[in-house]
Amino acid sequence: MKKLFELKNWHVKFKTPDGMVNALDDISISVNKGECHGIVGESGSGKSQMMLSAFGLLASNGSTTGTALFDDLPIEPQKLLGQRVGFIFQDPLTSLTPHLTIGQQMVEALRRYQSLSIADARKICIGLLDRCRISDSSRRIDQYPHELSGGMRQRVMIAQALTSKPDMLIADEPTTALDVTVQAQVLSLLKELQKERSMALVFITHDMGVVAGMADTITVLRKGKIIEQAPVEAIFRAPKHEYTKLLISARKSPVSNEVTAIERKPCLIAKNINVKFSIKKNWREKLWLRAVDGVDVNIAHGECLAVIGESGCGKSTLARSLIGLQSKVAGDISLDKEDVNTLTVRDRCLALQIVFQDPFASLDPRMTIGDAITEPLQILKPLLNDHQRRQILLSIIDEVGVAKAWLNRYPHELSGGQSQRVGIARALIVNPKLLICDEAISALDTTTALQIIDLLQRLKQDRALSMMFITHDLGAAFHIGDRVMVLYLGRIVEEGRAGAVLKNPCHPYTKTLLTASPVSDPEAMRARAAVHLVDDVPSPLDTRSAMRFLKSRMIDNPTADQYRPVMLKAGDDHAYAEFDASAAL
């Protein structure tokens, strides 16, 4: 095979107010024609900068040294970009110009190097959108990026990159912002396009599972240095570096630690939780979005319920309803057999605590870490004196692994993992009966997320803590959850003991999630059937979309009250929602 792209002894430096920062240090990689090269690393590893710098797209304070070759010639970005090299980026919403239509953006790229009339260019673009499975492409081409769903936007990005008929496509975390089912679609599209056009593909990601089925060769980067580079089979079969092993272990196939059934003493019981949001259709009419639609939650003492769902399934709204942060919640919630509505706000806060997704945004930037952790005590247990508070603080930070030295620092001085530990300490300092973790690991790097999961698991055992662990990451959910609950458009589609659900998933949505989530196993990933879906998650505003798995009972009226699927028993503590035999996602 012939080499297409090569970096030799490549260095990237940034001039910052703190002096020169080495972003990449002595990097050498090569990509062959038609090959897929996976570049794996966490945030700050320099993985994106590598390809941006090679093609002159570095920020103005960056500088490079070393050799960058394309087709054995030194790279001249203006001769390659838009002609032989295409880029797609992580966040398709911010990476497409918001005030230009899809068509305008694609046509300008196409006409940059080809003399075409606008009408001809449009035709080619519609063809490319069709190829990227954008349904109704001749209408979509005149829409703005914000009018499309996340998955569709990413497929538009791909179509736009294809306008240049690239020999090499560089995909920078192309699926990170997407739901697992959508991710699976985009991955299978990229794979097909790569084969069909015998394109080289450089796939940059933090997720070993995602590249497992795509890449021929993998380069693992850490802190600007290559720590391992090998063919995909070799790297998964026999990773040499500890760090590579860690990255791989983060995406092993979900396993659940089967626990022997113990007697369940109910901690939190919520019945028929409903949360509706009104959305103005026009000045007179309102549409109702049922964010949470008749959900029952049942968590026993010392048990962890993992709530799994994709964006828009209502999982965060559910968490907020339980904790009392959501207004207009219908349904009964009881804690230790006491109706939460009879509790004072203080008692409710003492009993229920939450850890939020974004550790930085959830801490007051003007408060020291120590103050942030003890603030709940000051408000909820005002009778404690300073000495007692200090004692509690010291014991809790010891337990969750917050260093004493951090207490006088401010949130921006901590890393994501450290801030999340602070978030956990803040929640646990009042010794709550139930801890809700709302996507508490989603914003973290792979290795940090693993550490936080370990921490939560240890806390759960040591404290016999009841937990509700909300996530879109199946691996984490089955790893930590004793029981799991799968939400889809505000409703439960499957629920039960983690082991039972994993072994015998009954609902088609659960099955799809399980087959769509990436695992660190190249063979298994390659063997997966291509996901040929055109549609994304349907609009929760349309009551018909809730009947996606039970079309036979659907009333075809967007505002009508639909039939409610009943929960069927699949076994002891394992139930799933009714669905049509032919239903699939």
Binding site: L57, L81, G82, F87, T97, P98, H99, E108
Partner: protein, 305 residues
């Protein structure tokens, strides 16, 4: 969209009502009256004048009477310029002020945005520093300093342009320049800031990755989103131009409505001040509505379905 405009126009009514009511009360709360002169009037004569202009009635009935007049387009008689009604005075002065204001606003936008775009693209380079230095001076030096200096240089010394009045050709040039300089500086600074921010956006990186030439990136991808803060500034800018023109019109002796505002307030010419206030308030409300419409043109995400 049309429903939105109509709704906003309807909301204008209560806003204007509040503006009129507050100004009316404040004017009457200020000590003194329209007939206080150096030469003291006899109490009888003053009482007669008060009766003639209805100032002897209770304040509330004066107010309702005035409002009734406004609804018919009658802004009452001027207390000071006895031979004119307020409507006549504004009718004469407004075209001059409007010409001055619109010219200044257009120039401020055209020059301010171009300069800001250039400076933002050449951020932290020498040319950028020079431009921003001048912009700082432009903002810091008040126009009642700039205006006499310009008049001194270009009118008195060089005799290129008239010192004051509206009759000679080019009479509008110096007033417009002195009015617009600080505005150009302000718009340029705002534009520069937002251009710098927009150029760091992901979609600019995408455009660069598509090998789009610089002028396409700047004008097609970066310009529209960079204008958002300028549009927000449009309302305050118009207000600055209005209040600025009050000073400028007095300095250059232009027969606009700005000087009526100043003189009217000093003379307690209640109706004249109220009339000018109504004009200004309406203008500001309409401009703010315009700003909202421009927002949705700039950013399709704000367009109402």
């Amino acid at each position: 969209m049309i429903a939105f405009i109509i709704r906003r126009l309807i909301f204008m009514v209560p806003t204007l009502f509040v503006v009129i009511a507050v100004t009316f009360m404040l004017m009457h709360a200020a000590p003194g009256g329209p007939f206080d002169r150096e030469q003291q009037l006899t109490p009888e004569a003053e009482a007669e004048l008060n009766i003639h202009y209805g100032l002897n009635k209770p304040l509330v009935s004066q107010f309702t009477q005035y409002l009734g007049g406004v609804l018919h387009g009658d802004f009452g008689p001027s207390f000071r310029y006895k031979e004119y009604s307020v409507r006549d005075l504004i009718g004469q002065g407004l075209p001059v002020s409007a010409q001055l204001g619109i010219q200044a606003l257009m120039l401020a936008l055209i020059f301010g945005i171009s300069i800001g775009l250039y400076a933002g693209y050449n951020r932290n380079k020498f040319s950028d520093s020079i431009i921003m230095g001048f912009a700082m001076i432009g903002i810091a030096v008040p126009n009642f300093v700039v205006a006499p200096m310009l008049a001194l240089v270009f009118a008195v010394w060089l005799h290129w342009l008239p010192v004051s009045g509206l009759d000679a050709p080019g009479a509008m040039i110096l007033p417009t320049i002195s009015l617009v300089l600080p505005q150009i500086a302000a718009v340029a600074r705002l534009t520069r800031g937002s251009v710098i921010e927009v150029l760091q956006q992901n979609y600019i990186r995408t455009a660069r990755a598509k090998a789009m030439p610089t002028h396409v990136i700047l004008l097609r991808h970066a310009l529209k989103p960079s204008l958002m803060p300028i549009v927000s500034y449009l309302g305050p800018a118009a207000a600055n131009l209005l209040t600025g023109s009050v000073v400028i019109e007095v300095i250059f002796g232009l027969p606009g409505i700005g000087r009526y505002f100043v003189q009217g307030a000093l003379n307690r010419d209640y109706t004249l001040v109220l009339g000018v206030i109504i004009v200004y308030a309406t203008l500001l409300i309409v401009l703010n509505l315009l700003a909202d419409l421009i927002y949705s043109w700039l950013d399709p995400r704000l367009r109402m379905s």
